[in-house]
């Protein structure tokens, strides 16, 4: 995507995700850009947000960027090092879980924010096999707010998932609660083109914000299902301060920003 803006697509995506994180939030983080968004929020808009990993480390110092959620870098100077069962219980438990915001990625997303990280093609004999759920299904089941990072392409924004790994609003309306799930799942989708949210009644994805230089039409062209764009407004682009902190404090070697 050509870009006349003073920021890269990765930079605006990171800032848009970081703005979703509020002070006091417990941020369930993966690695890569999701980790960077969590660090950006902590340095820009949510100094008292707490970074937390499914492997059991909480509020790690992160002197160096971890490359995996089991990277020894997350074990240093944490508030506590525990284990998987404790970490997931912290999210399943609504007393702490209600403060958790998660950042997830996926190979496919549908109009209800359900995610596929398992396979393309038939599950029993897939064309492409991915890593699988990891903690994704658990997080999407428990956590009230989830940010999904996606590249905005038709083949990724699909009518029907090849495999439903992590629950969003399932089939919309009250189907999520009816299935036994707590309210939650993916609440915002951050892509290289804009920001999508979900209608609180129908559970359907709608366009909330489009980036400078991007039109709602372009976003629809890259989306494999119909989507309401009537509520869409232009996103406030990353400020100079946001970009400065992101570039100079969070990823000076551009390990993730590229």
């Amino acid at each position: 995507m050509k870009n006349h803006q003073p920021y890269t697509p990765r930079e605006i995506m990171t800032i848009m995700a970081a703005r979703e994180i509020k002070n006091g939030d417990i941020v369930f983080s993966g690695t890569g850009i999701s980790m960077l968004a969590a660090m950006a929020a902590k340095n820009i808009n949510a100094p008292d947000s707490v970074i937390f990993f499914e492997t059991g480390a909480i509020d790690s110092l992160l002197e160096e960027l971890p490359f995996a959620v089991a990277d020894p870098r997350i074990m240093y100077w944490a508030a506590a090092n525990s284990k998987l069962t404790d970490a997931f219980a912290t999210m399943q438990n609504p007393i702490t879980g209600k403060k958790v915001i998660a950042i997830l990625g996926a190979a496919q997303i549908d109009m209800y924010g359900n995610l596929n990280t398992t396979c393309i093609g038939d599950y029993s004999s897939p064309d492409i096999r991915f890593s699988g759920s990891g903690g994704g299904c658990d997080v999407a089941s428990f956590v009230p707010r989830c940010v999904a990072f996606m590249q905005h392409e038709k083949r990724k924004f699909v009518k029907k998932l090849d495999y439903l790994t992590s629950p969003g609003q399932l089939k919309g309306n009250n189907t999520r609660q009816a299935a036994g799930l707590r309210p939650g799942g993916v609440s915002v989708v951050v892509t290289n083109l804009g920001l999508m949210r979900f209608d609180k009644d129908s559970g359907k994805m709608y366009l909330d914000k489009f980036y400078p230089d991007i039109t709602p039409e372009k976003i629809l062209e890259n989306t494999g299902f119909p989507m309401d764009v009537s509520r869409a407004t232009l996103a406030v682009p990353p400020t100079e301060t946001e970009l400065k902190i992101l570039r100079e404090h969070c990823d000076p070697q551009r390990l993730i920003l590229g």
Partner: protein
């Protein structure tokens, strides 16, 4: 300590004694951390086949075992291995080519399944996974399940909350217990009786150990009982759960051991590149696994330079400013 409480033996002997063709097995660690690699490579060298592997997220060990054709059935939550392999390469190929049967769970579900096994329970409940294909799509058919008494008849079960809406839950999802024939973990410190002290995150190692009929512990340091008894709060695994103790310095290499050494991102990338090409992968295995007689000789080929590069900084527990790619 009387003799029958001394469980120290060579790794080769422990694998011969406890890991058989068709064993149901689990290994400790998580992606690129604390995988029992010395044991994994020994299993490959002993050409043990048809293993049923229970994994939450054992990246490094998992992909070597699958690459060597040791695994026929796999129950798993996540098969990725950090930057080098967002999806484990030999795993993906094996699934795509129908070389292994795989059944998917989530990380919490797999952890709870080990926990249920460690508690002597048939299952544990969770609020995870309703409405997903994890619940509806099974990797093992009813007939396979019936034919193997070691595989539970139902992948998962859903029940209504018998306590009304207590805790705000209308339903719970029940995950069946796992009790492996053998679990192998790698820890920082163990004594000859098998008491273990793990430094840093324990992942699901403790639950895997306590759920397992037999347990092999490989350790960086084989220490005196007295050293571990000085701080019982740091010993997550008492000896009563352990069958064999094997001293294996750098026994998790190329995965990391907090406080001792980092993961070797160069080695993991080399593995990932080779794994994509059958000829290259055979060369890789011939050189690093089949071409050596044990982990010590493997480490000689790896070379002191890499081992120095990953040495942990005593302050942080990892290798500070190590070149990672």
């Amino acid at each position: 300590m009387t003799n029958h409480l001394n469980k120290v033996m060579p790794l080769k002997q422990a694998i011969e004694q406890y890991v058989k063709n068709s064993s149901h097995i689990s290994i400790g660690g998580f992606t690129l951390n604390r995988n029992p690699m010395a044991a994994v490579y020994e299993i490959i060298r002993q050409d043990i086949k048809d293993l049923h592997l229970y994994a939450h997220s054992n990246g490094t060990g998992l992909d070597e075992l699958i690459g060597a054709g040791c695994i026929s059935k796999l129950e798993i939550a996540y098969a990725g291995n950090g930057k080098a392999a967002p999806t484990c390469i030999r795993f993906a190929r094996a699934v795509q080519n129908n070389e292994i049967l795989v059944e998917d769970y989530s990380n919490y579900m797999m952890s709870l399944r080990f926990m249920a096994g460690s508690m002597g329970l048939p299952f544990l409940p969770t609020l995870s996974g309703f409405g997903t294909d994890i619940l509806t799509k099974w990797g093992f058919s009813k007939s396979i399940r019936k034919s193997d008494p070691k595989i539970v008849d139902e992948k998962l079960a859903v029940m209504d909350n018998p306590f009304g809406d207590w805790a705000g839950a209308s339903k719970v999802l029940l995950v069946p217990a796992i009790n492996p024939d053998i679990t192998i973990i790698h820890v920082q410190k163990a004594d000859a009786m098998g008491t273990c002290s793990i430094q840093g995150l324990t992942f699901a190692d403790i639950e895997q150990v306590k759920a397992s009929k037999n347990v092999i512990v490989t350790c960086e340091e084989l220490v005196d009982k007295e050293e571990l008894r000085q701080n019982p709060d740091l010993n997550q695994i008492p000896f009563i759960h352990v069958s064999a103790v094997c001293h294996a310095p750098l026994g998790a290499y190329p995965s990391a051991v907090f406080g001792h050494y980092d993961y070797d991102s160069q080695y993991l990338r080399k593995f990932a590149i080779a794994a994509k090409n059958p000829d290259e992968f055979k060369k890789y295995q011939d050189k690093y696994i089949y071409g050596v007689k044990n982990h010590e000789s493997f480490l000689k080929i790896v070379g002191q330079e890499r081992i120095d590069a990953i040495k942990a900084d005593p302050r942080t527990g990892y290798s500070v400013n190590m070149k990672r790619d």
